[in-house]
């Protein structure tokens, strides 16, 4: 066979393979999806960061005292997930070794460039600073008590500041409050910009609209709060401690309202699309009813939103009628469903937005392998990695309270108050 024919045959074979997965007409360059599961995982993780931080800020800024037991856990969760957030991006880049360019020649017109600075700001000026102010007293105490590597670590983190007089602690608290106040819009910015990355793409009618950042923010809040519910229960179970019922009830309440607002905003998006019926509505309706039927209508809408809304709504409307143990089952299971539903939402946005052609005339198909840069294994691993990091953080910074009369103390309460 003429070797010159090989690329031709290869192209023909590939063309046939693609042709069987293409419906209608897509631009030739759109036949393979560009952003895949890694770009689904990334907004999911940053959303969990933002949501967990908002949960913590409810204690500091809005003085929701009932949530105090989960305050530190929420902050550590935010940190664990924030640390892991850049990983899916680095794995996805064609040239990760050039990623530093985003920091040294950031193109200010690009939302993606601003990520580096928003992330750095949020990590350093908000999260780490807040954790430092919250933990400073304990760090000094622990650094004196612990020996070896652990003690050395605590000493380093104190930055050499060993003053734990009441005046210093009072300053810590004031600083913490200021940082949290700055932190709330920063958390909105951290995840809102992710929504804006999609919302700014006017070329794609599924992505490019005004509500996208808002939808991302509120679904992030719901997912982050749900994560706190799940983690709090798990940690209590792991340490064989009783959960604080009032704390869980309060978390359930905020979870319900976060989900309600999220549902409203997403509903508003669809309502507007269907009513205005712009040129893209035909292909988008076909997308929702066809390739996205399972992930959008079944998983995201029914399982991830409507079912938890009904269940959580029942606990809000009829709290007295539902026994505590059943309420807590509802919180836990609804939280799980919300976590799955929000992941499905990220999938529907990222993958869904690439499943139809910008020619508005056709659809591609998304195929995922097991291994490789865009395979299942890596993405599942990256979703679980933050939990491993959180485990280390909990071991370091959420020690079990001493046994004795205070044994009934809840598992994650701050030592200093």
């Amino acid at each position: 066979m003429d070797p010159a024919l090989t690329p031709v045959l290869q192209a023909a074979g590939e063309a046939h393979h693609l042709a069987t997965s293409i419906e209608g007409y897509v631009y030739p360059n759109e036949q393979n999806l560009l952003w895949s599961v890694l770009i689904v995982v990334y907004p999911y993780i940053t959303g969990l960061v933002a949501g967990a931080f908002i949960m913590a800020s409810l204690v500091r800024v809005f003085n929701v005292k009932a949530l105090t037991p989960v305050y530190r856990l929420a902050l550590l969760t935010a940190l664990a997930f924030l640390v892991c957030a850049p990983l899916p991006l680095l794995f996805h880049l064609g040239h990760p070794e050039r990623s530093y360019q985003v920091m040294i020649t950031p193109h200010t017109s690009s939302p993606m460039a601003m990520f580096g600075f928003v992330y750095a700001w949020y990590m350093m000026a908000v999260l780490l600073l807040e954790l430092w102010c919250e933990y400073r007293h304990d760090l000094v105490v622990w650094s004196e008590r612990e020996r070896g590597l652990k003690g050395a670590l605590y000493r380093v983190i104190t930055l050499g500041v060993r003053d734990i007089s009441p005046a210093a602690l009072h300053l810590d608290e004031r600083l913490s409050k200021i940082i949290t106040v700055i932190g709330i819009p920063s958390a909105f910015l951290l995840h809102g910009y992710v929504g804006f990355i999609f919302g700014s793409i006017k070329a794609n009618p599924w992505w490019g609209n005004v509500l996208m950042p808002v939808i991302f923010i509120f679904s992030a809040m719901a997912s982050g709060m749900a994560l706190c519910v799940v983690l709090y229960k798990e940690l209590c179970w792991f340490r064989r401690k009783a959960v604080d019922d009032a704390c869980l009830d309060e978390m359930g309440k905020f979870l319900f309202y976060a989900l309600l607002v999220d549902f409203t905003v997403e509903g508003l998006d669809w309502l507007h699309r269907l009513y205005a019926a712009e040129e893209s509505i035909s292909v988008l309706k076909q997308l929702a009813e066809g390739r996205l039927f399972n992930t959008l209508l079944v998983i995201q809408l029914c399982l991830g939103t409507l079912l938890p809304l009904l269940a959580l709504g029942a606990t809000q409307i009829l709290p007295g009628r539902i026994p505590v143990w059943f309420r807590q089952r509802i919180y836990y299971n609804s939280a799980f469903l919300i976590l799955v539903g929000v992941l499905a939402m990220r999938w529907n946005v990222v993958i869904g937005g690439q499943l139809f052609s910008k020619s508005l005339r056709g659809f591609a198909t998304f195929k995922m392998g097991l291994a490789g840069q865009e395979g299942w294994l890596l993405s599942v691993g990256l979703i679980f990695l933050p939990f491993v990091v959180l485990g280390v953080l909990v071991w370091l910074f959420l020690p079990e309270p001493p046994s004795g009369p205070e044994a009934k103390e809840t598992v994650a309460a701050p030592v200093a108050n």
Partner: protein, 153 residues
């Protein structure tokens, strides 16, 4: 010299901040490419790099240097809008060294039909034929000379 006692937390944090910002600025000074920003928010050298790729097609001016007689004849007839390399293939290598042949010197019917096969999508100003109707079984070059399509060989 008046001195004010700054709380240790604040002074440590301010120092840390200055350290971080300072190292960022130093890194930026060292790492930003030299030609960045010459014309806009990009490396000026990228223009030259984009212009430095090797040529594959020669362009009709190159063909004219040696084959001007063919081009003169071509320019009189219907195929005057076609450049040499449309049919003969990328010929930069041949222009650099005439001993190297152009990619295509022999032509089959499919080469003519590529443009002249009848199709409802083709505009009517171009002459189109249905090979099953138009002198089926005969070669195109039996009646047509590619450089002067209306001439018979």
């Amino acid at each position: 010299m008046s001195s004010l006692k700054m709380p240790p937390q604040v002074s440590r944090l301010v120092l840390l901040t200055l350290g971080i910002v300072g190292s960022y600025l130093v890194a930026r000074k060292l790492l930003v490419p030299k030609t960045f920003g010459e014309y806009g928010w990009y490396r000026g050298a990228a223009l030259e790099e984009n212009a430095a790729h090797k040529l594959v097609f020669a362009g009709m001016k190159s063909c004219d240097e040696c084959h001007s007689d063919v081009l003169q004849k071509l320019g009189k007839y219907e195929h005057k809008t076609i450049s040499c390399e449309s049919c003969h293939g990328p010929s930069r290598a041949h222009a650099d060294d005439p001993d190297v042949k152009t990619p295509k010197g022999m032509f089959a019917d499919s080469d003519c039909l590529r443009c002249h096969q009848s199709s409802p999508s083709r505009p009517l100003w171009i002459k189109q034929v249905d090979p099953l109707d138009h002198y089926r079984g005969d070669k195109c070059t039996g009646c047509h000379v590619p450089h002067q399509p209306k001439e018979t060989p």
